[in-house]
C-alpha cells in the first residue's frame, strides 16, 4: 500500500514528523516500510505556462516555436519538439535557470538559429511515473487542465511536494489497505487525534427515491452478506479534478475519468472497492446477486469472454451476469463517455469466493485483493455515501434518495475480555491497568474495567484480525514497544539436550569422511525423470514420485538415488578443471509403494560416495595414482568398520547392478539366506555413461543408512594384548580366474581353526606361466595361541588342512 503523506495529513497532523521518522516508527510498530518515495525528485523553477501561439520552426520540420505566457514579466519564446504541443494549452514550463530531476539545468539556447528561453516538459522530465498517464501524454508534453492557474509552481499543481510511504503489509493487516486504516495506525503510534470524514452529511440527495428506479436482491447470502447501491443520474463524464488524479497517481492508480476515478479514490480511502454500472444497461435496474450457473458465459470489460463456474459469484441483471462479483465488471454495463445514469455498488463479498475466482481467471486487481482479505462490513455504507457525494460534486450527478440494499452489515464490534495478569505473564512485563487502557484508547478500541484485573475491550470491525486475547496482547506489546520487553531466562525444570542415535551417526560419518579426504556436497531433492532410471534404486520395490507442477523437467521427480546428482557435480567440477574428486552426500531417497499417491512417500536416508580422477593432493614430486574400485570399496569398508559393523555381516555380490560397469560393480548385502537385505551398491560408473558425461573413470557407491543405524556398535571391549609371538605363513594359490578371493578366504577360515588370527591378500596376478585362465592369489596367514608359543608342526598341520580344502573345493594348486 502506497500511503501519500499529503493525503494522510487530511486525517491527522504530521507536523514536526519527517517521513523518515514516521516510517521508522511505523516499522517498529509492526508494518515494515522499506521505501520512502519523494515525488519531487529535484524540480526547481518549473511553472504553469499558457501556449499563446505555435509556429513551425523555419529551419527544422520537427520543431515548433511557441510563445508562452508563464506568468513572467514578459512572454517567453520556447522551441519545442513535442508532437502534441499546441496553442491554447496549459503546460509545465521549465524557465531559464530551472532544475529538473536527473540534474538537467535549463539555459537560454539557440536551436537551429532560433532563441529558446526554456523548455516545455513531459511528465517523465518531471520525474513522474508516466506509465499511469494516457499514451499520448507519455509520448509528448504533459498537457494540464485548461483552468490551471498560469505561473503557479508545477510541484503545487501536480502535488509533487508529496512523499509516499510504501507499506509492506503482512496478510493480517488488510485494515491498512486504506488511507483511513493507515490514519488509525499512525494515530495510535503518534498518539494524535484523528479527524475523519463524515460522508453521510456530505451527500445531498434529490427528491426522487432511488428504490423507484433500481432494486437489489441476493440469492447467495453466504457469499454476499450485504449489497448496497445508490442511483445517480445525469452525470457528466469528464476527467477528474487534478488533485484527485495526483493522489491516484501517488497511490499508483491510473486516472481514467471522474466516475471511475471516484470509485478508485474511495476504495483507497476506505478500503472498500466500489463498482459503477451504467444503469441504463441493467435491465429494469434490477440487480440480483447469485452463484453462476455451469456453462454460463460473460464478456468482462477487458473484452475477454469468460466461461463461468458454479463456485463463482456474479451480479446479474435481467437474468444475465453483468459482473464477476469483486473481480471484474462486464463490458456491456461499463461506464463509457456516453454514460448518464449510474448504479453505484458497495458490497461485502466473501473473501474466499473472490480469491478462488480471481486466481482461477488470473484476474487480480486492487479490488479483488481487498475483498480476498475481507473488507470491513462497517465501511460499506460510508464508502457508498462518500463516492455518491463526490460524484455529485465532480460529475454533476443527482444522487437519488435513499440507499437500496439487501443483506446487512453485521458490523457489531467484538468484545474481548483481557486479563492483565495473563498479559504480564505472557510478555514478562509489569504493565499497569492504566498503561494498558491508554494503549487501547490510542488504538480507538473502547475499553472498560471488568473488575479483578480484567478489561473488556471492544474491537472495531475494521480490525478483523483481532479475535483472541493474545491478539490484544500483541497490540499492547507492539505499541508498548518490543524493545521495552525485558530479557529473561526460562524458569522451570531443566532438560538434557541431545542428538538421537541416527543424528549422532550421521555426524560421525561426516567427521570420518571429511577427515579421510572426502568433500561433503548437497544436491537437490528433485531430479530429471531419466535420472531416476539410471541406477538400481535402493528403494528396490516401489516407484518414483513426481511433482504435480514442476518448475522444469530437470527438477520434476523426487530423487530415487543420490548418484545422478553426484555425477552432475563431478561433471560441473570437471568442466572447471577440477577433475580429482572424492565426494559424499547424506540425503534422502523417495519412493512409494502405492500406484496412486495417497499418503506420504517413503523417505530413506542414504550415504552416497563418488571418487574420480587421482587420489590425494597434487604433490611436487609424487605422481598420485588414479582411483580404482578398491579405493572406493576401501572407503566403504572403513565406514562400516568405523561403525563397528562386523566384516562377516557384509557380503559383496558381483551381480552387475544397473548403471555400473558390469564387471566392476557389486551389490552389498547384510544378513544371510532369507534375512539377506540389500544395503547398497558400488562400482565403476558404466563406461557408456562416463563417455556421455565426458568423465574419467568414476567410482560411486550408495548405502542405506537405516540398517547401519541398527547395526552400529559403538561399544569397545578390550582384548588382552598377545603375550606370545605369532607365526606367519604365506600361500600362493593358483586357481581358475573366476574363483573369487572371498571364497578362498572363506574356505581357509572354515578349515584353519582357531589358531588363525588374520588373513590378508597381498598379491593377485595372472600370466602365461600360470597357464590359460589361471590366476595366482597370494595370501598371508597369521597364527597365534594366547597361552603359548606355537610349534612349526602344529602350524604346518592346520595350514595343510586349509590347503587341501582349497584343493578339493577349487582344484587349487600351491605355487612353489
Amino acid at each position: 500500500m502506497r500511503v501519500s503523506t499529503d493525503w494522510l495529513s487530511d486525517y491527522i497532523s504530521l507536523e514536526g514528523v519527517t517521513s523518515e521518522d514516521l516510517a521508522s516508527r511505523i516499522t517498529s510498530a509492526g508494518i515494515e516500510i522499506d521505501v520512502i518515495e519523494k515525488r519531487n525528485q529535484g524540480i526547481n523553477k518549473v511553472v504553469v505556462g499558457y501556449v499563446k501561439s505555435k509556429e513551425k520552426h523555419p529551419d527544422a520540420d520537427k520543431l515548433n516555436v511557441c510563445i508562452v505566457d508563464a506568468g513572467q514579466e514578459e512572454d517567453i519564446q520556447i522551441v519545442c519538439g513535442a508532437k502534441n504541443v499546441d496553442a491554447g494549452q496549459k503546460v509545465p514550463v521549465a524557465l531559464v535557470g530551472a532544475k529538473l530531476p536527473g540534474g538537467m539545468d535549463i539555459k537560454k539556447a539557440k536551436l537551429r538559429g532560433v532563441l529558446s528561453q526554456g523548455m516545455i516538459c513531459s511528465a517523465k522530465e518531471l520525474g513522474m511515473n508516466d506509465k499511469l498517464l494516457p499514451k499520448e501524454l507519455q509520448e509528448g508534453i504533459l498537457v494540464l487542465p485548461a483552468e490551471t492557474e498560469i505561473g503557479k509552481p508545477i510541484v503545487d499543481v501536480l502535488g509533487l511536494n508529496d512523499e509516499i510511504l510504501e507499506l509492506d503489509l503482512t496478510p493480517n493487516r488488510s485494515d491498512c489497505l486504506s488511507m483511513l486504516g493507515a490514519a488509525y495506525e499512525v494515530s495510535a503510534i503518534l498518539g494524535r487525534e484523528l479527524s475523519l470524514p463524515n460522508p453521510e452529511k456530505e451527500v445531498m440527495e434529490v427528491h426522487d427515491t432511488a428504490a423507484d428506479h433500481i432494486s437489489v436482491t441476493i440469492g447467495a447470502a453466504e457469499q454476499c452478506s450485504h449489497y448496497a447501491a445508490r442511483y445517480i443520474t445525469g452525470v457528466r463524464i469528464a476527467p477528474s479534478p487534478l488533485w484527485m488524479q495526483n493522489r491516484l497517481m501517488a497511490a499508483g492508480v491510473r486516472p481514467i475519468n471522474n466516475i471511475v476515478d471516484i470509485t478508485n479514490y474511495v476504495m483507497l480511502e476506505y478500503g472498500q472497492p466500489l463498482h459503477a454500472f451504467d444503469a441504463d444497461h441493467l435491465k429494469d435496474g434490477a440487480v440480483h446477486v447469485r452463484m453462476a450457473e455451469a456453462g454460463e458465459t460473460m464478456v468482462t470489460l477487458d473484452g475477454a469472454e469468460r466461461r463461468l463456474e458454479p463456485h463463482m459469484l456474479v451480479i446479474t441483471a435481467g437474468g444475465k451476469p453483468v459482473a464477476l462479483a469483486g473481480v471484474m465488471g462486464g463490458l456491456d454495463s461499463e461506464v463509457t463517455d456516453g454514460t448518464v445514469n449510474i448504479l453505484l455498488e458497495s458490497a461485502k463479498f466473501d473473501g474466499g469466493t473472490v480469491r478462488k475466482t480471481s486466481r482461477q481467471l488470473g484476474l487480480r486487481s486492487e479490488a479483488s485483493s481487498r475483498f480476498e482479505k475481507e473488507v470491513d462490513p462497517a465501511a460499506v455504507i460510508p464508502a457508498l455515501n462518500r463516492a455518491a457525494a463526490l460524484m455529485a460534486k465532480y460529475a454533476d450527478g443527482a444522487v437519488h434518495q435513499g440507499i437500496v440494499e439487501a443483506g446487512s452489515a453485521h458490523a457489531e464490534p467484538t468484545v474481548i475480555t483481557l486479563s492483565l495478569e495473563k498479559l504480564n505473564r505472557y510478555l514478562g512485563t509489569e504493565l499497569s491497568l492504566l498503561e494498558v487502557k491508554t494503549i487501547f484508547s490510542r488504538l480507538h478500541f473502547p475499553s472498560g474495567d471488568a473488575g479483578q484485573g480484567l478489561v473488556d475491550v471492544q474491537v472495531p470491525s475494521r480490525r478483523g484480525d483481532i479475535v483472541l486475547d493474545v491478539d490484544l496482547i500483541e497490540e499492547v506489546a507492539r505499541l508498548y514497544g518490543y524493545d521495552n520487553i525485558p530479557t529473561t531466562a526460562i524458569e522451570g525444570p531443566t532438560t538434557p539436550g541431545s542428538l538421537t542415535k541416527a543424528q549422532a551417526i550421521r555426524r560421525s560419518l561426516r567427521r570420518l569422511l571429511t577427515h579421510s579426504g572426502f568433500q561433503e556436497v548437497l544436491g537437490y531433492s528433485f531430479i530429471h525423470p531419466q535420472q531416476a532410471e539410471m541406477f538400481t534404486s535402493l528403494a528396490s520395490e516401489g516407484t518414483a514420485v513426481k511433482l504435480a507442477m514442476p518448475m522444469s523437467e530437470d527438477r520434476s521427480v523426487l530423487r530415487t538415488s543420490l548418484l545422478p546428482q553426484l555425477l552432475d557435480i563431478a561433471v560441473y567440477n570437471h568442466n572447471r578443471k577440477q577433475p580429482d574428486l572424492a565426494l559424499f552426500e547424506i540425503g534422502n531417497l523417495f519412493h512409494t509403494l502405492e500406484e496412486t499417491l495417497t499418503k506420504q512417500p517413503l523417505e530413506r536416508p542414504v550415504l552416497g560416495l563418488l571418487m574420480t580422477g587421482r587420489k590425494g593432493n597434487k604433490q611436487w614430486n609424487v605422481q598420485p595414482a588414479k582411483v580404482d574400485f578398491f579405493d572406493l570399496k576401501g572407503a566403504l569398508e572403513t565406514v562400516l568398520e568405523y561403525l563397528g559393523i562386523r566384516v562377516e555381516d557384509i557380503t559383496y555380490v558381483a551381480n552387475s547392478p544397473e548403471g555400473f560397469h558390469p564387471g566392476r560393480s557389486a551389490s552389498v548385502y547384510t544378513g544371510q539366506g532369507e534375512n539377506q537385505q540389500l544395503l547398497g551398491v558400488l562400482g565403476q560408473i558404466h563406461p557408456k555413461t562416463q563417455q556421455e558425461l565426458d568423465l574419467e573413470d568414476t567410482y560411486a557407491a550408495e548405502i542405506l543408512l537405516e540398517p547401519l543405524y541398527d547395526m552400529t556398535n559403538a561399544r569397545v571391549a578390550y582384548r588382552d594384548l598377545p603375550r606370545f609371538p605369532g607365526m606367519e605363513r604365506d600361500l600362493a594359490i593358483v586357481v581358475d580366474e573366476q574363483v573369487e578371493a572371498g571364497s578362498l578366504i572363506q574356505v581357509i577360515k572354515e578349515n584353519a581353526g582357531e589358531l588363525l588370527q588374520q588373513i590378508q591378500v597381498f598379491d593377485v596376478f595372472t600370466g602365461s606361466k600360470l597357464g590359460e585362465g589361471k590366476k595366482s592369489v597370494a595370501i598371508s596367514l597369521t597364527y597365534r595361541h594366547q597361552e603359548r608359543t606355537l610349534t612349526d608342526e602344529e602350524v604346518a598341520e592346520v595350514t595343510e588342512k586349509a590347503v587341501s580344502a582349497l584343493q578339493q573345493t577349487f582344484g587349487a594348486e600351491l605355487r612353489k
Binding site: 496478510p171 500483541e474 529473561t488 543424528q503 569422511l513 544436491g523 495417497t598 587420489k615
Partner: protein, 344 residues
C-alpha cells in the same frame, strides 16, 4: 732392535702426518701394524733376545704400537667427522618447498552452520527433532493455523505432489508433529533443522530449495521475555559476545505476538556498512509466542501452557557468517567453493 723400533715409529708418524684420506690411512695401518706389517716383522727377531732384554724391548714395541695406533685412530675419527659433515651437507633439503599435506575434505558449509546451531541449542537443553520432506497439507498448513484459503498461504507458493501432499515449505510442521508425539507432556524444547521448498526462481538470494532451523519451547510459564533472552544468548554464541538483537512486530499465522528479529550487523557491528545497507541491522529470523490454536491442535491446554517458536534460514546465516554473496554457490558444489571451508 730398540733403535729399529724407534726408527719405525718416527717413520710411521712422519708418514701418518701427511695422510689425508681414509684409504691411505688404512694402507699405512696395514703396512705398520698389520699381521704382515713392519712392526710384526721387527718383532720376529725377539726370539733372539735374552730373557732380560725381552720385556724391555716388548715394552718399547708396545709403546711404539700405542703411539701409532693413537695417531691412526685420531685420524680416523677426524675422517669420520669429515665424512658425516659431508653427508649432512649433501642431504640438505630446501625447506621452503611445500610439504605433502594430508588430504581432507570439509563438511558442507550449510551442514556446518546447522551443526553449530544444533550444538548451541543442545547446550541450552534442546533436543534435535526431524520430520519428512514431503508433508501433508494438514501438518504443513492447517495444524499451524493456516486453514485452506487463508491469505497467508500466498506468502509461499508450494510444490504439490497431490492435492493433499506437498514438499514442506517450512520446518514448522515438525513442531506440530513433535507436540502430538509428546502427548501433552511438558517441557518441550526442540530445534528442527531441515530442507524446505518454495516455488522461487533461483537468483542470488533465492533458491527453490533451502534449509531452515525451527525452534520450539513449551512449558507452564514461558514468556515473550524468555524468547528474547534465548535469542540473545543464541546470537551471541553464534556471532560473538557483542551481538545485539532487535525485535520488530510482524505476522505469522502460528504465533501471536509475532516478531522479526534483527541482529546488529555481523560485519560492521552496527555502525552501518554495505552488508547491512547502512542500517546497522540484519534480519535473520522470525519468532513469536505459539498461537493458542496451534497449542490446542497439538494437544496442549493453551490456558495452562504457553510457548515460543522461532525459525531461521540456514543459507542466510551461512551467507552472513562467511560473507557468501550468492546463494547458488551452496548447491553448485564447486570444489573451489567447498574447499574454502576446510577449517575447524
Amino acid at each position: 732392535m730398540k733403535e729399529k723400533l724407534e726408527a719405525l715409529k718416527q717413520e710411521a708418524l712422519a708418514q701418518l702426518q701427511d695422510v689425508n684420506d681414509p684409504q691411505q690411512l688404512n694402507d699405512l695401518r696395514v703396512k705398520y701394524l698389520g699381521k704382515k706389517g713392519a712392526l710384526t716383522e721387527i718383532l720376529r727377531g725377539m726370539g733372539a733376545l735374552s730373557a732380560e732384554e725381552r720385556p724391555v724391548i716388548g715394552q718399547v714395541a708396545n709403546d711404539v704400537r700405542g703411539a701409532i695406533e693413537e695417531v691412526i685412530s685420531s685420524k680416523q675419527e677426524a675422517f669420520q667427522e669429515q665424512e658425516t659433515e659431508e653427508r649432512l651437507r649433501a642431504e640438505k633439503v630446501d625447506v621452503t618447498l611445500p610439504g605433502r599435506k594430508l588430504t581432507q575434505g570439509a563438511v558442507h558449509p550449510l551442514s556446518k552452520v546447522i551443526q553449530d546451531i544444533e550444538d548451541i541449542f543442545i547446550g541450552m537443553g534442546y533436543r534435535v527433532a526431524e520430520g519428512p520432506e514431503v508433508e501433508t497439507d494438514y501438518f504443513n498448513f492447517e495444524a499451524l493455523n493456516l486453514p485452506k484459503n487463508h491469505p497467508a498461504r500466498d506468502m509461499q507458493d508450494s510444490f504439490y505432489l497431490t492435492e493433499d501432499l506437498l514438499m514442506r515449505t517450512q520446518t514448522s510442521p515438525v513442531q506440530a508433529r513433535t507436540m502430538l508425539s509428546m502427548q501433552g507432556k511438558a517441557p518441550v524444547k526442540i530445534i528442527c533443522p531441515g530442507r524446505v521448498f518454495r516455488r522461487d526462481d533461483d537468483d542470488a538470494t533465492h533458491s527453490f530449495q533451502f534449509h531452515q532451523i525451527e525452534g520450539l519451547v513449551i512449558g507452564e510459564n514461558i514468556r515473550m521475555s524468555d524468547l528474547k533472552g534465548t535469542l540473545l544468548q543464541f546470537v551471541q554464541e553464534m556471532f560473538g559476545d557483542n551481538t545485539q538483537i532487535r525485535l520488530r512486530p510482524s505476522f505469522f499465522p502460528f504465533t501471536e505476538p509475532s516478531a522479526e528479529v534483527d541482529v546488529s550487523c555481523v560485519k560492521c557491528g552496527g555502525s552501518g556498512c554495505r552488508v547491512c545497507k547502512q542500517t546497522g541491522w540484519l534480519e535473520i529470523l522470525g519468532c513469536g509466542m505459539v498461537h493458542p490454536k496451534v497449542l490446542e491442535m497439538g494437544g496442549y491446554d493453551s490456558e495452562k501452557y504457553s510457548g515460543f517458536a522461532f525459525g531461521m534460514g540456514v543459507e542466510r546465516i551461512a551467507m552472513l557468517k562467511y560473507g557468501v554473496d550468492d546463494i547458488r554457490h551452496f548447491f553448485n558444489n564447486d570444489a573451489a567453493f567447498l574447499n574454502q571451508f576446510t577449517r575447524i
